[in-house]
């Protein structure tokens, strides 16, 4: 007996030490997972950069690119200042709850040995926000002022989408607690919001000069379609970081869960992400045979199944993606007939597809239970929340762009649009060997003036 007790105590101490080491490594694994998800998400922005520059005419290629780079640069600090706070403060609606730990001067909003979660989740969410900015960015190319775009992208990327995120993603979000809202891959809280925000902006911004002649839509050719296609494929790559960032890596015995605390795993996401991608490409190819839309179909396909990524049978995901692709192409054509110049189809690819994706979860997965006493998934709840997402995005985009328009801050002058934004604003040429030497002088003059 006398020798056994010290032995048991020693064994207990060893077990405790091993448990502490295991928990530390588990916490580190969680950090590592989201770190790389965030890094991969940066590829979304590299993709949007290439895609928008390629989709522009050569006279506007760099302006489109600079606008996109600056969007990332302003969303990150503003999301630090108030975006993360909005997510934590507004789950119950528009009355804030205490979220002082998410304010930029809180100790958890900086290097903290005891907090291995806040920074890495903040980073992933900041990149989600930047994605919304990039969705807007492509649609408004070749005529929006960079300054106006940056103001709009801050409102969207650090404000509106994360308010929707608080409602539809937060554990206490009213959409979840009241209606059992299910949107694991952000079809609604990112894509529908950004797509309909973009529609609101496009109405006030108006079409590019020459897009409609006597009301008849004209095709404005991308100056580098191959670059656009490669950019779109880069976005698809980045989606794996984006969707990985949407799953919750839990400590303890729980393992993976959705953001709603329901069981899932990366295998479920893998099946349906890839099947959605493939279905979308096939659908858009069949609907258009257009290279740009064929590649955009990959986005449509993934977004169309993202809300129910954890729930769908892969075959169903494939068919949903194929079917929604036809709707997205049809929506883009209808918008054009209505006089909306969406240069890259963002409203239909992200907005229309995002809304349909949320509703389809209600169609195919109605009755699926939620956790923590929240209501089951229902068609009514999904449809209502999809409508709220679209309305929130559209109303905010329309109102802010309307104010900018009233102050003549939204759009570049007609002669500048005709001249090309690169020559006037950017102080550089994308293909300088095509520019006569005399233009160098005028560029330098503006540089000095600025």
């Amino acid at each position: 007996m006398t020798t056994e007790l010290p032995y048991l105590e020693s064994l207990q101490a060893t077990l405790n030490a091993q448990q502490a080491a295991f928990e530390m490594h588990q916490a580190m694994n969680i950090e590592v997972f989201y770190w790389w998800c965030t890094a991969i998400m940066v590829m979304i922005h590299a993709g949007f950069l290439a895609y928008e520059m390629g989709a522009s005419r050569s006279k506007n290629a760099l302006a489109a690119g600079v606008k996109n780079i600056l969007a990332l640069a302003v969303i990150i600090p503003t999301f630090y200042l108030f975006g993360w706070w909005i997510y934590n403060a507004f789950p119950t609606g528009i009355i804030p709850v205490d979220a002082s730990a998410a304010l930029p001067w809180a100790q958890s909003m900086g290097p903290d040995v005891k907090d291995m979660g806040t920074g890495i989740f903040w980073a992933a969410f900041a990149l989600f926000g930047a994605t919304t900015g990039s969705i807007l960015s492509g649609a408004v190319i070749e005529r929006i002022r960079v300054s106006a775009f940056l103001m709009l992208t801050i409102v969207l990327g650090s404000g509106i989408w994360i308010l929707a995120g608080a409602w539809g993603w937060h554990p206490d979000g009213w959409m979840l607690t009241e209606f059992g809202y299910h949107d694991v891959g952000a079809s609604g809280v990112v894509h529908a919001i950004a797509g309909f925000f973009t529609l609101g902006v496009l109405i006030n911004l108006g079409p590019r000069v020459g897009k409609f002649i006597n009301g008849v839509p004209q095709k404005i050719q991308a100056h580098n379609l191959p670059m656009t296609l490669i950019g779109l494929m880069m976005i698809i790559f980045g989606f794996f970081g984006f969707l990985g960032g949407c799953i919750i890596f839990n400590g303890g015995e729980t393992g993976w869960t959705t953001i709603y605390n329901t069981p899932t795993n990366l295998s479920a996401f893998a099946f349906n992400t890839l099947m959605g991608f493939a279905g979308g490409v096939i659908g858009c190819y069949m609907a258009t045979r257009d290279p740009f839309w064929t590649m955009s179909g990959g986005l449509v396909g993934i977004i169309s199944v993202a809300a129910g990524l954890d729930l769908y049978d892969p075959g169903l995901a494939f068919m949903i993606a194929t079917g929604v692709s036809f709707i997205a192409v049809g929506a883009a054509k209808q918008l054009e007939k209505l006089g909306i110049d969406d240069a890259v189809g963002a409203v239909s690819v992200h907005g229309v597809t995002g809304v349909i994706a949320v509703i389809l979860v209600g169609v195919f997965a109605s009755g699926t239970p939620n956790m923590d006493g929240n209501p089951a998934i229902s068609l009514y709840g999904q449809a209502l929340c999809a409508f709220v997402m679209a309305l929130l995005g559209f109303a905010s985009g329309y109102l802010v762009s309307y104010v900018l328009k009233k102050f003549d801050l939204l759009r570049v002058p007609a002669n500048v649009e005709d001249f090309g934004l690169d020559e006037v604003e950017v102080l550089a040429h994308p293909y300088p060997e095509n520019v006569p030497a005399k233009n160098t002088h005028s560029t330098n003059a503006i540089t000095k003036g600025a």
């Binding site: 600056l70 302003v74 600090p77 503003t78 630090y80 200042l81 930029p104 001067w105 100790q107 958890s108 900086g110 290097p111 903290d112 040995v113 005891k114 907090d115 002022r145 960079v146 300054s147 940056l150 103001m151 801050i154 801050l409 570049v412 002058p413 002669n415 500048v416 001249f419 020559e423 006037v424 604003e425 005028s442 003059a445 503006i446 003036g449 600025a450």
Partner: protein, 54 residues
């Protein structure tokens, strides 16, 4: 001068000025100022560039 810790024992938030809320608020205002300044700078640049190409 900005460090908030004097020892690594039981340390939590260890970044510069972590124990000084006034400094942290000032840094936040600085971040906001730089973003606002960027947009102001671009508005001015656009105005000049557009006038130059009238």
């Amino acid at each position: 001068m900005g460090t908030s810790i004097t020892s690594w024992e039981n340390v939590t938030a260890y970044f510069t000025f972590a124990d000084n809320p006034v400094a942290l608020v000032l840094f936040s205002l600085g971040v906001a100022g730089i973003v606002a300044g960027l947009i102001h700078f671009i508005v001015k640049h656009e105005k000049k560039a557009f006038e130059h190409h009238k």
